[in-house]
Amino acid sequence: MRQDAPYFNLPTVRTVCCIHLSRGERLFAPTINDMNENLNGDIPPGEYFWEGNEAVAEGAIRAGCRFFAGYPISPSIEIMERMSNRLPEAGGVFVQMEDEIASLGAVIGAVWAGAKAMTATSGPGLSLMAENIGYAVMTETPCVIVDVQRVGPSTGQATRPYSGDMMQVKWCSSSDYQIIALSPWSIQEMYELTVQAFNLAETYRVPVFIMSDAAIAHLRETCTVPGMDELAVLDRRKSPGGPHFGTDDPRGVPPMASFGEGEALLITGSTHDEFGYRKTQDPNIQKKLTTRLNEKILRNADKIAQMEEYLTGDADTVVVAYGIAARAALAAVKQARNRGVKAGLLRLKTVWPFPERTIHSLKARRIFVPEMNRGQIAQEVQRSARANTAVFSITRVDGEVITPGEILEAVLS
C-alpha cells in the first residue's frame, strides 16, 4: 500500500488502480463470477429492471466485451461506472483515460491485443474521437462506441435528449468511409442491439455505434436476459499468416490476428497493401482500399439492415422513425388508424448503412419522419423515396422527447 497517496488507503476503491498489475491479480473480494463460475462474468438469465445505460453495459459483457476505456461525460456516465465494477468480475479490464481521444485509442490497442472492446460517450466526446474513428475504419478494427446523444452544439444541455449526432456519427472523420449505427427504442433493445453491435463489428471489422440518447439512457424498463444459448455471440475470423488487410473479393472482410501470436503485424493508418505495408504514393492501392472499405458495408447493407414494420401493409401514410421517437410514432400511428388514416410505421433499427432500398420500396403517398433534430435522417429518406412520394420532416429541437400528439397532428394535416 502506498502511504504517500492517502486515497490509496480507502478500502472501498474498486477499480484497478495499479495499472501494472496483471489481469487476474485481483484486489477485490467475491464477485458474481466467483459465485457463478459457469457464467463467465455474465449476469444470470432472468428479468431485470434496468435503465438503458445499465442494459448496454450488461449487453456488452454478454457479447464478450472484456475491455472498456472511457472518459466521463453526461449522459453516458452509468455505462462506464457499471463497466468499472463488472469488468473486473468478468476477468476484463477497465481503465478511465485522460480524454476521449485516448479512450478510443486504448480501445483500438486492446482490440489488437485480442479483446472485444467498447467505449461510451456523448456528442462532444464523439467529436474528440473523430480521428481515431477514421483510424479504426482504415485499420479495420472491430469496436463498439455508444453515443448517448444530448443537445448541442458544443456543451449544449448536457442532460437533455436529442438525436443530433445522426450525421456526425456517419461523417465525423475525414474522407470516404462507412460505419454501422444502430438505434434502439427500448431497454430490451439496448441490451440486444449491444450484443448485435459486437457481432456486426466482428463480422465486418468496422466500428459499430449505438445511437442512444439522454432519455432512453435513463429510462427504466424490464429487460429479459435470455439463456446462454438463446443469443448468438460471434467472434472474429482468424487465419494464421493472413493477409490481414485485404482480400481479392471487393466486398470481402480479411481475417484478423492479435499481438503476440507471432504474426509480426504491420498495422498503420496510412494507405497499405493487404499485408499492411505502407503504399503512400500508389493510386491503384488507394483506390482498391477505399473501394473495399466502403463496399464491404454497402454491398452487405441488406444483410446488416434491421427494421420493423407496423401496419404498413395497406398504408398510404408511413411514418419512418428510429430510437425513442419511434415510440411516439407508434402511438401516433395507432391513433391515426382510429381516425381512419391508413397509417403505418417503419422503424429503423439500423440507421447506417442507410436502408435506401427499403425506403424506395415504400409505395406510400406520404412519408413522415419525426426526429429530435432539424431533420437529419429526413434528408436521407427524401433522397431514397420514390419521386411521387411526399416526404415531410417533423422536428423537435428543444431537448424534449417528441410526443405522439405532434406526430399525429402532422399526419392528420
Partner: protein, 252 residues
C-alpha cells in the same frame, strides 16, 4: 556472415527513408542492440509509434508487432494493448512533436499511472517531416520555418516533465553517445512500470538548414559538444553549463 541484427528487420523495407545525417537510423539500430543484448523474445514485443519521421523507426522496419497510429496518440494505444495483454513487452517510439506537443497529455498521464511501457522520444527539436516548424522542444532563439525571427518560446525539459508526473525510470542520451544509450534502453526495458528516455537525434535537413548549418558531420560534432554528463554538470559552475544538454539517468 549475416549481420546479427538483420533478423529483427523487414529487410525488404530497407534502405530507410531517413535523410543523410539523420540520427534516427542510429537510434533504430541501438534499440535493437539493447533488445539483442537482453535476449528478449522479439515475437512478444509490440512497438507503437505515431506520426512523423520517428514513427517510421519501428514501422515498417521492425519485424515484430507494430502499430503505427494517429498523431500524438501512440501512448494511448499502447496503454490499451498492455492492459489487455500484460505479457506483451510494449515500447513506444516517436518524436518530440508527437509525444510532447500534440500528445503531451497522454505522456504525463501514462507516467502518472505508471503504465508498464517504455517510451523512447527521438528528439530532433523540430517538426522534420512537415518541413522544419518549431516544436515544443526547440531551443529559445532558434530559427525555424515558423520562427524566422528566432523562437520566442521556451522548450520543454521532457525528463523533468515526466519525472514530475511520476515516471519510475528517466534518462537522456544522444545518438552520439551510443554505449550509455544502449544501457539506458536496457534498463528501461527491465524497469517494471513507466520508463522514458529522451534521445537527442539531429535533423540536418530542416533544423540544420534554417540554422545555416547544413553539414551533417558538423551538426553531429556540435551535438557531442553540447551534451555534458549529469555528474559533470553538477560539478560545474552554473554559468559554464548554459545552453548545454545534460545527459544521464535522472530517475532510476
Amino acid at each position: 556472415m549475416e549481420h546479427k541484427l538483420k533478423k529483427y528487420l523487414r529487410t525488404e523495407t530497407l534502405p530507410t527513408p531517413f535523410c543523410p545525417g539523420c540520427g534516427h537510423g542510429i537510434l533504430m539500430t541501438n534499440i535493437l542492440r539493447a533488445i539483442d543484448e537482453l535476449e528478449l523474445d522479439f515475437r512478444n514485443m509490440l512497438f507503437v509509434s505515431g506520426i512523423g519521421c520517428a514513427g517510421w523507426i519501428p514501422s515498417p522496419h521492425y519485424k515484430a508487432d507494430t502499430l503505427h497510429v494517429t498523431h500524438g496518440r501512440p501512448i494511448a494505444f499502447a496503454t490499451g494493448a498492455k492492459l489487455f495483454n500484460p505479457q506483451l513487452k510494449v515500447m513506444v517510439i516517436s518524436g518530440d512533436g508527437d509525444l510532447a506537443s500534440i500528445g503531451g497529455n497522454h505522456l504525463i498521464h501514462a507516467a502518472r499511472r505508471d503504465t508498464d511501457i517504455t517510451v523512447i522520444c527521438a528528439n530532433n527539436e523540430i517538426y522534420g517531416m512537415t518541413g522544419g516548424q518549431v516544436s515544443c522542444t526547440t531551443g529559445e532563439g532558434t530559427y525555424t520555418s515558423t520562427t524566422m525571427g528566432g523562437n520566442p518560446e521556451r522548450p520543454f525539459d521532457l525528463c523533468r516533465l515526466v519525472e514530475a508526473a511520476g515516471a519510475g525510470y528517466v534518462a537522456r542520451s544522444s545518438v552520439m553517445h551510443t554505449r550509455p544509450l544502449i544501457n539506458y534502453i536496457k534498463k528501461a526495458l527491465c524497469h517494471r512500470g513507466f520508463s522514458f528516455i529522451d534521445v537527442l537525434s539531429p535533423c540536418p535537413t530542416h533544423y540544420g538548414r534554417k540554422e545555416d548549418r547544413p553539414s551533417p558531420p558538423e551538426i553531429l560534432r556540435d551535438l557531442m559538444k553540447r551534451c555534458i554528463t549529469r555528474q559533470k554538470a553538477e560539478d560545474s559552475p552554473p554559468e559554464t553549463i548554459e545552453g548545454k544538454i545534460i545527459i544521464g539517468e535522472f530517475v532510476s
